[in-house]
């Protein structure tokens, strides 16, 4: 055959560059980072600055907006234990839903799958990319919490946890991201063009897994939590990825 | 009376002048072929007539009334770029909505009529998103035909239609202009098809209408000539230039006789002088040649 400009197919690298190019070219990521930065600011400022009457949403310290300390009512479905960083996992479902269905709706999936038979790279690159953008939203939330705390004048001192605990808590939450993004990917790859189905489906599944997060990643989490989350994240990402690959292999792309 | 009268219409998008001082007259009951290159402002003009875009300047009159008059616009059917239908609703539901939108009393009967015209009766229950490109185009045409509009604006309706679809398209347009006296503004790049039905032509270039001519006027004014080829052209040219002053040999090995002599007389004359004819053709000017000729001229006439 004649020598072609198309180099030896380094599939994962090309798939990643396609996704990153699109991620940074469209406004989706920037909007979600903006939202996750302003969310904590809103929560913290609004609840503390309300003319002092008794309120069900009392935040004693800034870090409560990150996660509740392990033994304090982590299981109860009450408001304050919900109104923290874990909400961002729902945001990642929205991100995955829109990002993947945009590819099928615009028809660009035709170009991707025309030159690839194996769907593995597509799934792997999507999980890596979406976990990365999820991590960005977490970091934005963290900064927002600090800013919100400053404005609301909340205390920054860490009760019954330490700086390392806080860092491990954040890291293990980020380690959980591949788990959530692979599940959301599974739904979106099944829904293809139907954006509403992929978003609603991912939100529903994330809600199912939601109660486990505070247990797995309390404020005073240690190295074991990080290890557990990493292991869980990778195993789930592996299963989620394999089933997405299965769906893609056995259904029509168009 | 003119169905569409446009005087120096202008429309620009972010500095780029899509339509630039366009003046246009579409007589009632005509099939007006609107031709021009990609991006020369055809779709923009059609969208301006349908009120989809707001013109920067210039006036548009439909049937003598201002184009913003609700009475006139209710009788306009349009298919611009793609059939605007809801993908998740069935073809029938989409047409039903448009029938309600037009306030048609006998909507079911009317829907079946237009579906029968575009040969889509049996596919009426399919969801619009599951139709193929050709079927979507026919649904768009059916929707534009609902309520037998007085003015039909079709932007490249032939796109995606197969030979059978094109034939139906031609029949629809000739029928609607004959029985309902409607007017059709149709843009297309397939000159072969357009040539068969268009009664008037408008050629647009960079947002300006550089030529507006009726079909038979085009035939009359363009220099028609007879093309003839014989086994001995030199001898033939001598004989021809004796009798006809417009005889000349062109560079494709054929002889041309300008002026409007009957080709049979020329043949008779050559044969009687013992010259054998291999090729004889009355040169009917084709739309594509006329278009390319007009486009190549620099000045705007």
């Amino acid at each position: 055959m004649v020598k072609y400009d198309r180099t030896k197919p380094k599939k994962l690298k090309s798939m990643l560059s396609v996704d990153f190019l699109r991620l940074f070219a469209s406004p989706l990521l920037y909007v979600l980072i903006g939202v996750s930065f302003s969310l904590p600011v809103l929560i913290l400022v609004m609840t503390t600055l309300n003319g002092g009457e008794e309120s069900t949403l009392i935040f004693t310290s800034v870090w409560q907006s990150i996660s509740s300390v392990s033994e304090e009512g982590a299981t109860a479905m009450d408001i304050t234990s919900m109104m923290n960083i874990n909400l961002l996992f729902f945001l990642t479902s929205v991100l995955v839903g829109i990002f993947v269905s945009e590819e099928f709706k615009s028809g660009y999936a035709k170009n991707i799958f025309a030159i690839r038979h194996k769907k593995g790279e597509y799934v792997l690159s999507k999980i890596l990319l979406l976990s990365f953008s999820g991590a960005l939203t977490f970091i934005a939330y963290f900064l927002g919490a600090i800013v919100g705390g400053k404005i609301a004048g909340l205390s920054f001192e860490l009760t019954n946890t330490s700086v390392t605990g806080l860092i491990f808590c954040m890291l293990s939450k980020i380690a959980l991201l591949p788990l959530f993004s692979s599940i959301d990917l599974l739904i979106s790859v099944f829904a293809k063009q139907k954006t509403w189905l992929s978003i609603l489906g991912s939100l529903a599944l994330s809600a199912l897994l939601f109660p486990t997060i505070p247990m797995m990643t309390p404020l005073n989490s240690g190295i074991i939590n990080l290890f557990l989350c990493l292991a869980g994240g990778i195993i789930f990402a592996f299963c989620g990825g394999l089933s997405s690959k299965f769906i893609l292999d056995h259904t029509d792309i168009v | 009376m003119f169905a569409i009268e446009i005087k120096d219409l202008t429309k620009s998008f972010k500095g780029l002048r899509a339509v630039d001082g366009l003046t246009m007259k579409v007589p009632v009951g005509s099939i007006y072929g609107f031709i021009g290159e990609n991006g020369s402002g055809k779709s923009t003009t059609e969208k301006l007539i349908c009120g989809h875009l707001v013109p920067d300047g210039g006036t548009i009159k439909l049937f003598g009334k201002d184009y913003r008059d609700a009475g006139v616009r209710a009788k306009v059917g349009a298919l611009i770029e793609n059939a605007g239908c809801f993908p998740n609703s069935s073809v029938y539901n989409n047409l039903k909505m448009q029938a309600i939108n037009l306030g048609l009393k006998n909507s079911d009967e009317e829907i079946n009529r237009v579906l029968k015209i575009v040969r889509m009766e049996k596919d009426a229950q399919i969801k619009f998103k599951n139709c193929s490109l050709g079927m979507k185009q026919r649904v768009g045409i059916a929707m534009a035909l609902l309520g037998s509009p007085a003015l039909l604006i079709l932007d490249e309706p032939i796109n995606g239609l197969d030979a059978d679809g094109m034939r139906i398209m031609r029949e629809i347009l000739t029928d609607i202009t004959a029985t309902y006296g409607s007017t059709v503004l149709i843009s297309s790049h397939v000159f072969g098809e357009l040539e068969k039905i268009a009664t008037h032509y408008g050629i647009i270039k960079q947002g300006k209408l550089i030529r507006e001519i009726s079909a038979n006027e085009m035939k009359r004014t363009s220099k028609s000539y007879i093309l003839v080829e014989c086994d001995d052209n030199k001898k033939a040219i001598k004989f021809l230039s004796l009798k006809y002053d417009g005889a000349v040999s062109d560079d494709y090995g054929k002889l041309r006789v300008y002026g409007d002599e009957a080709s049979s007389d020329i043949a008779e004359y050559l044969l009687s002088n013992g010259i054998r004819i291999k090729y004889l053709k009355k040169n009917k000017i084709r739309l594509e040649e006329y278009y390319l000729d007009v486009m190549s001229r620099k000045e705007k006439c």
Binding site: D78 | G29, A70, A78, M97, N101, L102
Partner: protein, 274 residues
């Protein structure tokens, strides 16, 4: 048929509006979006009612709502959020309504059907009025299913039912009237931001939650000036509201409705369809 016989009978305003409403209602009733949102507004009260309040120092969490009708409206008009029970009531229907109208109008533009609408309807106010009225109708239906959901979950969780019936009725009716104003606002947002569906739906959600008014209340305190805003008067239509509250809510709603319909029509007629 010779040409000048083509008569163009100008359809009257009512006729045009009737046609446009016919199209919108046909689509509303034939697509799942409307029914999904009716179901959502029935389920949400059940979920919220079961949520427990903030538990201090580990004692068992006290239930958020002592009376079922708190789900419909708060006891007294508190513009500031200090108790979730005062915030999460029937005003949430206006949040769902915002999202539904965004999807409904967004569908019009994405599918391109708006080309047909604006070909046959040159006047833009037909579009604005028809979409606002359809939105108001769907929000009122959502209020109905919300109330049904509340009653059911009230019976299940055994919360008390006694309330001053007349003011309950007033607050329900005034919230339904207010849906007119809200629909006008949402239609305006989605028509102006038609090119950016993402931002339109996010903005509708943001305004629907009433955060701007709550923020203003945090600064300016509980002044009745806030009733001028849609969210303000939605909160004002509370369990203790009187007939005057009803009329003030109705006036505010209708004024906003007309204002947004008029402003939207003017802007639309000046700008391209897509």
């Amino acid at each position: 048929m010779d040409q000048n016989q083509i008569i163009f009978d100008k359809p009257s305003f009512i006729e045009r509006l009737k046609r446009m409403l016919g199209v919108d209602f046909y689509r509303l009733l034939h697509t799942p979006v409307f029914y999904i949102f009716l179901a959502i507004s029935a389920i949400i009260p059940a979920m919220v009612l079961s949520m427990t309040g903030m538990s201090q120092e580990g004692e068992i969490a006290k239930p958020l709502y002592t009376e079922t009708w708190q789900m419909i409206a708060a006891k007294q008009p508190l513009y500031v959020v200090n108790d979730i029970a005062d915030y999460a009531n029937m005003n949430m229907v206006f949040i769902f309504g915002g999202i539904m109208i965004s999807i409904f109008i967004g569908h019009d533009y994405r599918s391109g059907y708006v080309k047909q609408l604006f070909t046959t309807h040159p006047q833009k106010q037909d579009y604005m009025l028809s979409k606002s009225l359809t939105g108001a109708f769907s929000m009122t239906c959502m209020c109905v299913t919300y109330i049904i959901g509340t009653v059911f979950s009230g019976i299940l969780s055994g919360t008390s039912f006694e309330v001053n019936v007349s003011s309950l009725l007033i607050s329900i009716l005034s919230k339904m009237i207010l849906s007119l104003g809200w629909a006008g606002l949402y239609t305006f947002i989605n028509v102006i931001l038609r090119k950016h569906f993402g931002i339109a739906i996010a903005l509708s959600f943001f305004i629907g939650t009433g955060i701007p008014v709550i923020g203003a209340a945090a600064i300016v305190g509980n002044s009745s000036l806030l009733n001028l805003f849609l969210y303000g008067s939605s909160v004002y239509a509370c369990l203790g509201s009187s007939v005057t509250a009803f009329f003030s809510g109705a006036i505010v709603s209708i004024v906003w409705f007309i204002f947004y319909a008029f402003l939207g029509s003017v802007i639309l007629s000046k700008s391209d369809v897509y």
